[in-house]
Symmetry: C2
Subunit: 357 residues, 2 copies
C-alpha cells in the first residue's frame, strides 16, 4: 500500500504538506504544490491508513452501537433513526449484534472502547441479572470517566441518559383493548422472562386486567424466544394447555406472526374465533392477513433521540425520555365470540405444533 511519504516523495514535497493538501487543512498551500500532491495521490491510488489517522488525530468521531440484532425489524427501525442523525453530523457508526448474549454485550463495550468511539449507544432490553448489570455499569462508568458519552434505549440498568419506550403503558393499552372487547380468557406469548422488556409489558397488561377485575395467571403465559418461531411454538403450547382462550397477546410482532401461523395451521379463524394482539408495530404488521392489531412504538424516533442525546451537549443530570406507546387497531382483534368457542374442535388434534417448522 502506498503511504503518505510515498505520495510526498513523488510530489517532491514533505509529508506535512501532503497531509495538509489531502485533509484540506486550514494552513495554506500554494496551488502548484497542491496540484502535484493531488496528482501523486491519483497516480498511486493513495488511500490514507485510517488507523494511523485515528491514532494521530486526538478527536474521536465514530459512534458505537450495540443492538440485539440489526436484521430484526425492531432494531432495524431504531438503527435507521440512529443513522439519520449520525449521517447528518458526519459520524460513522459501528454497529454490533449481541444476539441477546450478555457476555457478548460486555465484550462489545470493550471492543468499541478500544476503537475509541466518541459515544456508545446500547439498544434493546435489559436483563434481570444483578451480576451482569453491575459489570456492565462498571464498564460504562469507566468509559464515561474518560470522556465517553453513553445512552441506552429501552433499558433501565444504566443511570445515565436514556430513551425509554413506554412498555408498561403499551401492555396496559393491549389489556384494556381486549377487556373492552369482552375477552376474559387471555393468553400471553411472552419473550424470555429474563428481559425487562418482557416483564414491563407483562406488568402493564396485568394491571389492565386487574383493574377490570380479571386476572392473568402464570399458566396463561408462555415464555419463548422473541422471534417468529418462538411465537409459533409458545402459541401451540398455550392452546394445548388451554383451548378456551379467546385472545392471545404476543409481546412483540414477530411472535405475533408466529402465533398467527400456528392459529392458521390449526384452523382457528382470526379474529372470529380468537383475537391476536402484537407489540411494536413493525412495518410488516400491516401486510400480514388479517392485518395485525398492535401497540405502536416510535422506533425510528427512539433512535433519533438517543443519538441526539449522545452527540449533543452533556447534561449534569441524566436525562430520561419516555416515548409513548399507542394502540393501532387493525384486523386481528375482535369481540369475544358469543358462544365462547364452542367450536374449538381442532385444538386437540394438532398437538405437535407443527406450524413451527
Amino acid at each position: 500500500m502506498a503511504t503518505l511519504s510515498d505520495v510526498a516523495r513523488r510530489a517532491g514535497v514533505s509529508p506535512a504538506t501532503a497531509s495538509r493538501v489531502i485533509n484540506g487543512s486550514s494552513k495554506p498551500v500554494t496551488d502548484e504544490l497542491r496540484e502535484r500532491v493531488l496528482a501523486a495521490v491519483a497516480e498511486l491510488q493513495y488511500v490514507p491508513n485510517a488507523h494511523a489517522q485515528l491514532l494521530a488525530r486526538s478527536h474521536r468521531s465514530a459512534v458505537g452501537v450495540i443492538v440485539h440484532d440489526v436484521s430484526d425489524p425492531y432494531f432495524a427501525e431504531i438503527t435507521r433513526g440512529l443513522q439519520r442523525v449520525a449521517t447528518d453530523q458526519g459520524r460513522l457508526l459501528m454497529i454490533c449484534n449481541s444476539y441477546r448474549d450478555p457476555d457478548r454485550e460486555l465484550e462489545y463495550v470493550e471492543l468499541l472502547r478500544g476503537h475509541q468511539v466518541a459515544a456508545l449507544i446500547l439498544a434493546g432490553s435489559g436483563y434481570h441479572d444483578e451480576a451482569f448489570t453491575r459489570q456492565l455499569n462498571e464498564k460504562l462508568a469507566a468509559y464515561e470517566a474518560t470522556g465517553g458519552r453513553v445512552a441506552v434505549i429501552g433499558r433501565h440498568e444504566h443511570s445515565g441518559d436514556a430513551v425509554m419506550p413506554d412498555n408498561r403503558t403499551g401492555g396496559y393499552l393491549a389489556g384494556r383493548e381486549l377487556c373492552g372487547l369482552g375477552h376474559r380468557a387471555i393468553g400471553v406469548v411472552a419473550g424470555p422472562r429474563i428481559l425487562t422488556t418482557t416483564t414491563d409489558r407483562l406488568a402493564g397488561l396485568r394491571q389492565a386486567l386487574t383493574e377490570q377485575g380479571r386476572e392473568l395467571p402464570e399458566r396463561r403465559i408462555r415464555y419463548a424466544e422473541f422471534d417468529r418461531d418462538g411465537g409459533a411454538e409458545a402459541t401451540a403450547r398455550l392452546l394445548d394447555a388451554d383451548p378456551e382462550l379467546t385472545a392471545i397477546v404476543a409481546l412483540n410482532d414477530s411472535m405475533a406472526i408466529g402465533a398467527l401461523a400456528t392459529l392458521r395451521a390449526r384452523g382457528l379463524a382470526v379474529p372470529q374465533q380468537i383475537s391476536v394482539l402484537g407489540f411494536d408495530d413493525m412495518p410488516i404488521a400491516r401486510d400480514v392477513t388479517p392485518a395485525l392489531t398492535t401497540v405502536r412504538l416510535p422506533l425510528v424516533d427512539m433512535g433519533v433521540r438517543a443519538m441526539s442525546l449522545v452527540l449533543g451537549v452533556g447534561a449534569p443530570t441524566p436525562r430520561v425520555e419516555v416515548l409513548p406507546a399507542e394502540l393501532v387497531r387493525r384486523d386481528t382483534a375482535g369481540p369475544v365470540p358469543l358462544s365462547t368457542r364452542a367450536t374449538a374442535a381442532s385444538a386437540p388434534r394438532a398437538r405437535r405444533g407443527d406450524a413451527t417448522s
Copy 2:
C-alpha cells in the same frame, strides 16, 4: 484513557512485558510479573487502543462487506452466512450499507481499504452503468494489487471470484410455472431497470414465455424501487393499464408483498382471480396470507460461499460459483380463472392506488 505504558509503570515492568502478558505472546513471562500486569490492567480498566494495535501489527484481520441494506431481509440472510464463516475464523466484519447508491459504494471501497481490511465482499446487484463499473473495477484492482482479496455476490462486473445466484433460471422457472397454469396475460413488477438483477430475472422470465409462444411486452412491465412500497405502487399502475392481467410476477418478495397489499385493497382474490409470484423466498414469504409462491435462492449459503472464497487460499483463475434457484410452490399461484376475469369489476374503481400509503 489509560495506555499500555500506564499499565507497565503501575506494574513496574516495561511496556514490552506488559504487551506480552496482555496479548498472550509466545514469549514466556514469569508468573509474578504476569500477575502484576494483570492486576494493573484490572485496576486501570485498561483497554488496548485498537487503532494503535492495528497499526503496529502488520497482519490484517477484519473483512469489509458492502451490501445495499442489511435490514433488507435479502441481505440480512446473506450477511448471516457471511457472519457464520467470519466468526468461525475469528474475523471481525465491517458492514456498510450503500443503499443502492453507486457513489456511496465507491466511497465505501475506499473507506474499507483505508481501514486495512484483509478482504472485501460486495453483495447485491450490479449496475448497467459503464462508467461506474469501470471506476469500481479500477478501485478493486488497486486494492487487489496490494494483496487484498475480493469477492462479489450477485454481480458480474468484477472479474475475480464471485458467487452468483442463478437469477436467469429463477426467472425462467417463474415463467414456466405460470405458463403451466395457463396464464397468458402476465404482468411484471420489476426493480430498477439499471440493476442487473432486474434484467437477469426478466430475461429468464421472457425466455420461458417465448418458448411457450407467449410474449412479455414492455407495457406489461413496471419498474419501481425494489421494496414493498415500490411493489404496491407498480402493481397499481400495472392494473390500471391492463385490468385483464391474470398473473403478476414480482421480481423480489418485498415487492410481492406490496403487490398483495394492492390486490387486497382492490378486492382481487389471490389466487382465484389473479396469481402472484415472488422471488428470493425471504423468511416472511411463508407467513403472509396466502403464503407466497416464490423462487428460492440459497441466500445464507451464498454468504457462506463468498466468505469462504475470500478467506481461503487464492486461486490463479477467478472462481465463479453459480447457486441454483428453485421454485417454491405455496398458495399465491393458481390456474388461470376460467372466465378470464369477467369479474374485474373493482379495478377501474380504485384508480388512485391508495394501498401504497
